[in-house]
């Protein structure tokens, strides 16, 4: 795939913003992305909007300009933003339109997500019985992974400490104070082996990108970033997944493994070519597991890689350079476009104090969420 370029990115900071609505944050992100691209909103021919809490993200046009364009709303769990981006890219690839926007926005209440389990395909009593918690699933998944592959509690703490450290250098992050490994391990246990400071928090924010046909990108920018792969996969029958009362004995790999392989194939590259990485770190354990599920290391290698600092900004595998979900929190509709925003900044050399050295060329982003959906995007200079 070499026919779609990202010419502008915009972000509303992630955190808590009092009475400011998700739509207002989405409008700020769109304005920033259009400014970055050097286009007017009136130049934009179509848009996709993603949100969990906002029923009609397209209502953002009331704040940025009511122009009559096709504006399509999507919700796809934690993969919502990857879905909006993929659909926007395909709309350009199909030749339907030349220039469009993908935007994500959300504003969640504090605390773990909840809903009616019926809408997730779980039994009606699943929540009543205290089983309908994503945090509990992540605790169980990393506990088994640690048992199988020799990952220590200290490695989980190293992942979270890195996220907070990177957040310090990201002015848009929710958490901007360093937290030591000791404090992380000593914070309140929420779901063994995961402590409070190993988890991300639902919060508020928005992100947007402007995409166009690659062959016209140089009209707008001297540094287009090309979207080389956009892939989404759902779970296979035997995958161990969130919000399920049972799982098959015959195991299948997680959906991320298939989305990742398809994305590498589409981009025509391999994991060894990736320079900057954004992974779904709903919790510190998820980042460890996702390193392997995305082909960046073998199962169990994370223990040594983290000890060696390999995933630091100046390491060979820089992961979650903007602090990831742990430092930014998770406004579901915006989270995946925050990842793309960070990759674009990194590939353009605009990431300031958190810039990955060596002129990175290839960026990789992965999302994972309920009820077993993974999205992977690969971008290059």
């Amino acid at each position: 795939m070499d026919d779609v370029a990202i010419i502008g990115v915009g972000l509303h900071p992630f955190g808590r913003f009092g009475p400011k609505s998700a739509l207002e944050m989405g409008a700020d992100a769109i304005r920033a992305a259009c400014t970055d691209a050097g286009v007017q909103w009136s130049d934009v021919q179509f848009a996709f909007g993603g949100s969990c809490e906002v029923d009609n993200p397209d209502a953002v046009v009331g704040l940025v300009g009511i122009t009559g364009i096709p504006f399509m709303d999507v919700y796809n769990g934690c993969a919502t933003a990857a879905t909006a981006l993929q659909l926007a890219a395909q709309t350009i690839q199909s030749g339907t339109y030349d220039i469009g926007v993908a935007v994500g926005m959300d504003k969640h209440l504090p605390g773990a997500f909840t809903a009616d389990p019926i809408h997730y395909g779980a039994p009606w009593w699943y929540g009543e019985q205290g089983l309908f918690l994503t945090t509990k699933f992540f605790g169980m998944k990393i506990n088994r992974y640690m048992h199988d592959h020799g990952i220590s509690h200290e490695t989980l703490a190293k992942v979270a400490a890195k996220a907070y450290r990177n957040g310090v250098n990201n002015p848009n992050a929710f958490r901007r104070k360093p937290v030591s490994e000791e404090e992380i391990l000593g914070s309140r246990m929420l779901n063994y082996p995961l402590t409070q400071y190993m988890f991300c928090a639902p919060d508020e924010g928005a992100a947007a990108v402007v995409l166009c046909r690659a062959d016209i990108a140089h009209r707008y920018t001297s540094t287009p970033i090309y979207l080389r792969a956009a892939q989404l996969r759902t779970r296979k029958y035997g995958a161990f997944e969130v919000h399920r009362s049972w799982t098959a004995v015959d195991a299948d790999p997680a959906p991320t493994v298939f989305a990742s392989q398809a994305a590498y194939d589409q981009a025509g590259i391999g994991p060894e070519d990736v320079d900057v990485i954004q992974l779904q770190d709903t919790d510190a354990g998820a980042e460890v597991i996702h390193m392997a599920e995305n082909g960046l290391c073998a199962d169990g290698e994370q223990e040594k890689l983290l000890a060696d600092g390999a995933t630091e900004i100046d390491g060979p595998l820089p992961v979650n350079t903007d602090g990831g979900l742990i430092a930014n929190g998770e406004p579901i509709g915006a989270s995946g476009l925050r990842q793309v925003h960070e990759l674009v900044r990194q590939l353009r050399g605009e990431a300031g104090d958190r810039q990955v050295p060596g002129n990175p060329r290839v960026g990789y982003a992965q999302l994972y969420g309920a009820p077993g959906t993974a999205g992977v995007n690969i971008v290059t200079r």
């Binding site: 389990p117 019985q129 509990k136 779901n191 029958y237 009362s245 098959a248």
Partner: protein, 142 residues
Amino acid sequence: MTPIAFAEDVFTWPADEPQLIGSRCPSCAAITFPEQGSCPRCGKVEMERHLLPRRGTLWTFTTQDFLPKEPYASGETMETFKPYGVGIVQLGDDVRVEGRLTVADPAELRIGMALELVIVPFRTDDDGTEVMTYAFRPTQGD
């Protein structure tokens, strides 16, 4: 007042040896818990009721150390909440099911340990009715 199960058709009860009630696909042998009307593997609409083995081994676990939001309905408050264990338990070669554990201390739990199904009190309703749920307990002598 006679205790009641939190839901019908989730476990056989009262019974000396209660079992979880699942379903099995006669075409492809997929097994689910609880029962469902169509097969999650092959899609055929001919699932049969299938009682699951009572004993199994712990495949993985965690603890729930904070009070879940609604729709959690244990009747507990922030002040009275007691953490509980949650596990994935492999029942023979049939299926792995999720359930509460009678043990909430990770030091007393280990992957691979033997467990058995028990029916335990979950909450007491305002009219005094005791509501029962299923859970897994370490097998005696393990």
